[in-house]
């Protein structure tokens, strides 16, 4: 029985390795197709990898580049944004994303942020969600350890040191727990998407009796706020809000 189990697990491991191998080959094939100028083929191959359930910032970046070469603005921006979600600080991604943004019709002025918000965001974005999770666990363990040491130790000076560290660790833990939860709820509440409509009117209310506020074009990043029947409420980076009807907005939380 055990032998069979071991065999099975070995087989599965083997399979997964082979599969991974296959995707890497596809990736290389796609890269050479891109380099040869066959962007449609490159797109097809990259998408094949995506469909097999694999992702990476690099994959999204390459896919976005291929779409850029094919002059498909919205697709290109969409995948650049996906790449940015995984690697927000990558220089290549940011530079090429700027090229794609140039190609889009709408250039939205980003709303200036207050110093406080900037700091807040800097702190929140210091670590990824997973990073914060691991960090809080680490802090919890350290806290328990130091507390224990404080209780166990009898030498006053050492005891005092441990006591202070315990208090500091406790505060840190509470802070980072708060940050982790805020970050998680932020991520859950805010959904960004890329607009795929060539041109769409943004209305003040979800009905045609209201006035048209402004026009948006393909490739604009919008925050999806609300929905009412076939209307969607959106917000763009400059803070303007409005409703669009039957908009083709592809959420960045999705994968296709």
């Amino acid at each position: 029985m055990r032998k069979i189990l071991i065999f099975l697990s070995a087989l599965m491991l083997c399979c997964s390795m082979v599969l991974g191998q296959e995707e890497n080959t596809t990736f290389e094939n796609a890269n050479s197709a891109y380099n040869a100028g066959q962007f449609e083929k490159a797109v097809m191959l990259y998408k094949e990898i995506l469909e097999s359930g694999q992702q990476s910032a690099e994959l999204y970046f390459n896919l976005a580049n291929s779409y850029y070469r094919l002059n498909q603005v919205a697709e290109s921006i969409f995948y650049f944004e996906k790449a940015k979600l995984l690697k927000p600080k990558d220089e290549d991604i940011n530079i090429n994303s700027a090229f794609a943004q140039n190609m889009a019709i709408d250039a939205v002025e980003v709303l200036p942020k207050s110093q406080m918000t900037q700091w807040k965001e800097k702190i929140i974005d210091l670590l990824s969600q997973e990073g914060w999770a691991y960090f809080t666990v680490l802090l919890a363990w350290l806290l328990a350890l130091f507390w224990g040491l404080y209780l166990w130790n009898k030498v006053p000076l050492v005891k005092r040191t441990f006591f202070v560290s315990t208090v500091v660790l406790g505060l840190l833990l509470m802070g980072s727990l708060a940050i982790t939860f805020v970050k998680a709820s932020n991520a859950a509440d805010t959904t960004f998407g890329i607009l795929f409509n060539n041109k769409i009117e943004v209305w003040a209310e979800p009905n045609k009796r209201a006035e048209v506020l402004f026009l948006l074009h393909e490739g604009t990043k919008v925050q999806m706020l609300d929905e009412l029947q076939e209307w969607q409420k959106i917000r763009i980076a400059n803070g303007s809000e409005g409703w669009i009807k039957d908009g083709k907005v592809r959420s960045l939380k999705g994968f296709k």
């Binding site: 690099e58 580049n65 927000p88 090229f99 939205v108 980003v110 919890a140 209780l151 074009h217 980076a237």
Partner: protein, 597 residues
């Protein structure tokens, strides 16, 4: 009557003489005719009608018809004419009646009879329509009547039911014929074409041409030509054109040389008010980007460069050519990426207006300066128009073009709120180029098990606290097992020694200092605990104070003994062991007192 009779008598004698003179002339074999002629077929109730019964052979026994529905106001007058031309005789004898109708409707003048050479001839019945009374019974010989009959100002409209913005032409024509002649004319009132876009086509010189009006030959002058584009739907009326004309009419008088004297009369003629029904453009199939262009057009967007350096400029020309209301609509707007600097378009029109409407081209010329490098798509522009001939909408679309801009800074205009590091406009001055793709895949499954929010995460987060609690509980249990009393005393002593005996402990090596410190420590302790002032330190007082605090006599004694011992020991030889022993004793005594207090 009498006069006519006289004339007739005279004529009769004249004819008889003639006949006598030319008796030899044979009567020619000739068909006999007898017919009735009416001056009008239709007349108003208050007008008069003249009826002639004409025969070409003399006859007798003329019986007029009963003229039912008419009243005879004059006649019968008889006239005979007899002439020979080139040996050919023509004869006519006419009975004339003037009638006025006494009832409306279709009346018939029945047959008249005459006996010519023994045979009875009859005229054909004549149908007359009698209408309502006319305002002014027209006298056919008056100049008014002549002008009315022979001069017409007519408005000709090319299309009475045009579409909105479809060109129609309005031509004002003046018809006139002999005997009228027009010697002068001027416009009294030019029509104002409200609700129309109008263009007057210049007529350099008025020309008289031949034309027909209601099937009769006339002279025609085209007075005014206009092209109109209706700007409103529904019934629109065209204001009439009024002309003041000076008309020459021949009068009955003749001058010395026998020519007729012309009579001048001035007259204002007005073309009737005309109504045009303008149809709205069909709603069905109306494109969203339809801005009112009606006609036949061609549309193109022309780009003068496809690749250029940043900060150079290029031009895009939107051009519409064709036939239609070119001046009356705007060209579609060009949609460009906002990062391009676009100047106001320059609008040029090259339109001629002819009788068939406006023709030519209009164009919008955009000058664009890209500041950053990259590819800029020029979105296709679509232009829609309505063709009134085919009654259909057409949409023309320019091709999709891309302008490639090289050699300039890259603009990063991130609209991303999540990533504060790139929210500021990042404009690098170096010629940043488009980066190549990445070559390492670093693939990972999309659906990953996340540590955050998993059970494992919470377990790991809470586990250390449980461990800590367990640890504390364990420690307490250990302490209970290892004797609580001893332990707590020890801890108390530790605390006290730390507080009061620190100095003494430091001086365990130096006997004099040690005992001095020890004694001071005892005093200090009392001072702190019993709140005694330093001056009052006598043994009696200490005993009394401690006694007040309900300490056992034994303990007070041991405290006093300690104080005395300190004093003695300072000057007596003592070993280190003795000092340590004394120190411990002080500690235990203080601990004991502390517990009681």
């Amino acid at each position: 009557m009498k006069k006519i009779g006289k004339v007739l008598l005279m004529m009769k004698t004249f004819i008889t003489i003639l006949l006598l003179m030319m008796g030899f002339v044979q009567t020619m074999a000739q068909e006999v005719s007898f017919e009735a002629k009416v001056s009008k077929r239709s007349l108003g109730l208050n007008e008069r009608l003249r009826v002639d019964f004409i025969m070409n052979e003399n006859g007798d026994d003329f019986t007029p018809p009963p003229f039912k529905g008419f009243r005879v106001v004059g006649g019968p007058n008889q006239s005979i004419s007899n002439s020979w031309v080139n040996g050919k005789r023509s004869f006519s004898k006419t009975y004339t009646y003037f009638l006025t109708p006494i009832q409306k409707g279709a009346l018939t003048i029945t047959q008249a009879k005459i006996n010519i050479d023994g045979e009875i001839y009859k005229t054909t019945p004549q149908r007359i329509t009698v209408t309502e009374a006319v305002e002014v019974p027209r006298d056919p010989n008056s100049p008014e009547y002549l002008i009315d009959d022979n001069l017409h100002l007519v408005t000709k409209i090319s299309n009475n039911r045009p579409y909105l913005n479809e060109a129609i032409t309005v031509v004002y024509k003046l018809y006139f014929r002999n005997p009228l002649r027009i010697s002068d004319g001027r416009v009294v009132e030019n029509p104002q074409f409200a609700d129309f876009w109008s263009h007057n086509i210049n007529i350099p010189q008025l020309k008289v041409e031949n034309g027909t009006y209601k099937g009769e030959q006339y002279n025609v002058v085209v007075w005014k030509k206009s092209v109109l584009y209706p700007q409103k739907t529904g019934k629109l009326s065209l204001e009439p054109l009024s002309l003041s004309l000076v008309i020459d009419l021949p009068s009955n008088r003749r001058d010395f040389f026998g020519n007729r004297i012309l009579q001048q009369s001035s007259r204002t003629v007005t073309a009737g008010r005309r109504t045009i029904k303008v149809k709205p453009l069909p709603e069905k199939g109306k494109p969203a980007n339809f801005f009112g262009a009606v006609g036949q057009f061609n549309f193109d967007a022309l780009l003068n460069k496809n690749a250029l350096k940043a900060t150079e400029s290029f031009e895009i020309k939107l051009k519409v050519t064709g036939k239609g209301n070119l001046k009356l609509f705007n060209l579609p707007e060009l949609v460009l990426p906002n990062t391009l600097e676009v100047f106001e378009p320059e609008h040029t029109e090259n339109v001629r207006t002819t009788m068939s409407g406006m023709q030519g081209s209009i164009e919008d010329n955009y000058t664009i300066v890209p500041r950053f490098q990259g590819k800029y798509p020029i979105a296709p522009v679509s232009f829609s128009y309505f063709d009134p001939k085919k009654q259909e909408y057409f949409t023309l679309r320019s091709s999709n073009q891309i302008v490639d801009v090289y050699g300039g800074p890259v603009a990063t205009n991130s609209t991303d709120k999540n990533i504060p590091s790139t929210t500021k406009q990042l404009i690098t001055n170096t010629d940043e180029s488009f980066r190549f793709i990445k070559l390492t895949p670093n693939l990972e499954p999309i659906v990953k098990e996340e540590f955050w929010n998993s059970k494992r995460y919470y377990a790991l987060l809470v586990l250390p606290l449980f461990l800590l609690v367990a640890f504390v509980l364990l420690m307490q249990r250990n302490r209970r097992i290892s004797g609580d009393l001893e332990g707590s005393r020890l801890r108390l002593a530790n605390r006290l020694s730390k507080k009061y005996l620190g100095e003494a402990k430091k001086n365990l090596k130096n006997k004099a200092l040690f005992y001095d410190a020890l004694e001071r420590a005892l005093y200090n302790y009392l001072k702190a605990r019993l709140k005694i002032k330093t001056d009052d330190f006598s043994k009696d007082k200490i005993t009394k104070f401690l006694g007040d605090r309900k300490l056992a006599q034994e303990e007070i004694q041991s405290f006093i003994a300690l104080l005395e011992n300190c004093e003695v020991a300072r000057y007596s030889p003592a070993t280190d062991a003795k000092m340590q022993q004394d120190f411990d004793q002080v500690l235990s005594v203080i601990s004991n007192i502390e517990k009681k207090l």
